[in-house]
């Protein structure tokens, strides 16, 4: 399979740019997926970072987008399973928790990650300032806090929020729209 290949040295700027774009394309997805498997956000990030560092040290950069994602999911899953095993070993000194993650659970977590990523992209397609305002609303900040964080006036924040909601109304289904409306108005 064409996923693994020896590349130009990593310490060139072209080499590093490739790693940067890999992070832009896959990082959030893999962390989300790993968090689903290990149930701990910091551990999930560590697992994904370790995966990338180990690929980097072997100078293997996954090349083709379509085949990369499955490969990265599989590699992340393997690391999550290892992590679970180690932690379970520690825990099992005290209790008898079941440790296995079923294959169905893993595959459902992949499907979930992809669905969420797709919807998130729709939000990203909003104009920059509008998207920033909407993202902060989504993170639970209120209008005044957003105004302060983005150095905008509260009236600009309100206007951008209205604009964002109306643009999302066009792009997203009422289901998602209702969610934003209820949460942010």
């Amino acid at each position: 399979m064409a996923v693994e290949s020896r590349n130009k040295p990593n310490d060139t700027s072209a080499g590093m740019a490739r790693w940067e774009s890999l992070f832009n394309v896959h990082y959030r997805e893999l962390c989300y997926f790993a968090e689903r498997l290990v149930g701990d956000d910091a551990a999930a990030e560590d697992i994904v970072q370790e995966l990338f560092v180990s690929l980097y040290e072997k100078n293997i950069a996954p090349e083709h987008m379509d085949s990369v994602r499955p490969y990265l999911y599989r590699a992340t899953r393997n690391r999550c399973v290892d992590y679970q095993r180690q932690h379970q070993l520690k825990k099992n000194k005290y209790s008898e928790l079941p440790t296995n993650i079923s294959e169905d659970y893993i595959l459902a977590a992949i499907a979930e990650t992809e669905a969420v990523a797709l919807i998130s992209e729709a939000i990203d397609s909003l104009p920059t300032e509008c998207g920033k305002v909407m993202t902060l609303f989504m993170k639970g900040f209120n209008g005044a806090e957003i105004a302060e964080q983005l150095s905008l006036s509260p009236s600009t924040v309100r206007a951008q929020k209205r604009r964002g909601i109306s643009l999302l109304r066009d792009k997203l289904p009422p289901l998602v729209f209702i969610l934003f409306f209820e949460t942010f108005m």
């Binding site: 590093m16 959030r28 992809e114 669905a115 969420v116 797709l118």
Partner: protein, 379 residues
């Protein structure tokens, strides 16, 4: 692998259906429900606003750029660790040195005292306000301008000579403990000392070449038909091709221009002075006075060559410079200490203990290393 690919396809379909406000019940998805025992639980929950909202928030709490930054720190740390490992194998003595360096690094990370000197470090603020860490190689090619960074301590701008339509300003920021050099698009070279920032256009337009400095920098201005102007708060230095040092820290009252070669015109307050090589203009913000002295220019430009050279410099000024380079605070316990004078040269790339040792030997002061600062006492 086929199962993973299929799960990806199914997930994207679920996402599209949710965006299109359809119930996730296409034939493919129904088939998936039958195959996968976890599918029902997921589909029932993700189709509710709360379930989807919670997931989106979780997903969007991370950013690929942050991940990449952490990744770069991680690989840099491993590289350092590898260097330490080699040292440890080489000899027991090297092992002790390496452990010392490692401890110092650790100290440098927190709020504790830095014993290690500064090093090449800076970041760039782009025209769009985005910051770029120059700890990694950078290469930008935007048609007629090229920007290339060498993480060992310099960044270079090149332009094909075509006049840019509008001036885009970049800012090079060198924090405490840092130093960096830059080659501007006209070929002018600038060395920036710790805690300094230089604002400059990506390509010069108009009738003058103007840059804005805060802090300390040494300039080697490339010859050009357009005058080159360095603006600092309250003062302007105009040149046509020359080498000079400018020191203008916000916390200091004195702004200082020291000429190494060529000729510059300094304007400050109501005053104006033309300097010859070996002359220094000092502008005092308190009384807006501008005076010119004959000096040994080498003393003021030595930092760029890895040395601090002082000639009858008062200890407070010496400690101020060390404070920027090591990012440590000196707690001077008596005013008498401030006006002690120091003459001599110190290497920039040595540890703080060594430098304090030299200073205490030639002066009647003691340095006590506290948790997060250095206390300076009379002996």
């Amino acid at each position: 692998m086929e199962k993973i690919k299929n799960a990806i396809k199914t997930g994207r379909q679920i996402g599209r259906m949710l965006i299109a406000e359809e119930k996730p019940d296409s034939p493919e998805i129904e088939k998936w429900r039958e195959e996968n025992s976890e599918a029902d639980a997921l589909l029932d929950d993700i189709a509710t606003p709360e379930g989807l909202g919670r997931r989106l928030t979780g997903f969007r709490s991370r950013d690929g750029r942050d991940g990449y930054r952490t990744f770069r720190d991680n690989i840099a740390r491993r590289r350092r660790r590898r260097i330490l490992r080699v040292g440890a194998v080489a000899a027991a003595a090297a092992c002790i040195v390496a452990a010392g360096i490692f401890v110092a690094w650790r100290l440098g990370d927190g709020a504790e005292l830095n014993l290690q000197p500064g090093s090449a470090y800076a970041y760039l603020v782009g025209g769009d306000g985005q910051t770029i860490d120059l700890g990694a190689p950078l290469s930008i090619d935007s048609g007629n301008t090229r920007i290339v960074n060498d993480p060992s301590g310099s960044i270079r701008y090149e332009t094909d000579g075509a006049e840019a339509a509008e001036e885009v300003a970049n800012i090079l920021v060198v924090p405490r403990r840092g130093e960096y050099s830059i080659t501007l698009s006209d070929g002018t070279e600038v060395w920036l000392n710790s805690e300094s920032r230089l604002s400059y256009p990506v390509a010069f337009t108009g009738s003058v070449r103007r840059v804005v400095l805060e802090g300390e920098a040494y300039f080697e201005v490339a010859h050009g038909s357009r005058p080159f102007i360095v603006s600092v708060a309250g003062m302007e230095v105009e040149v046509l091709g020359t080498s000079f040092n400018v020191m203008s820290y916000a916390t200091d009252d004195i702004r200082q221009v020291t000429l190494a070669e060529g000729s510059v015109r300094v304007r400050a307050g109501d005053g104006e002075a033309i300097l010859a090589p070996g002359q220094q203009a000092s502008f005092d913000r308190n009384d807006s006075s501008l005076r010119v002295d004959d000096v040994n220019a080498e003393l003021y430009t030595a930092w760029k060559n890895g040395e601090f050279i002082f000639n009858n410099e008062d200890l407070e000024t010496v400690l101020n410079k060390l404070s920027r380079w090591f990012d440590v605070e000196f707690d001077i316990r008596s005013d008498a200490i401030r006006s002690l004078v120091f003459t001599g040269s110190l290497k920039r790339y040595t540890t703080l203990n060594e430098i304090c040792d030299i200073l205490s030997r030639s002066n009647s002061v003691d340095f006590i290393f506290a948790d997060n600062k250095v206390v300076v006492r009379e002996k």
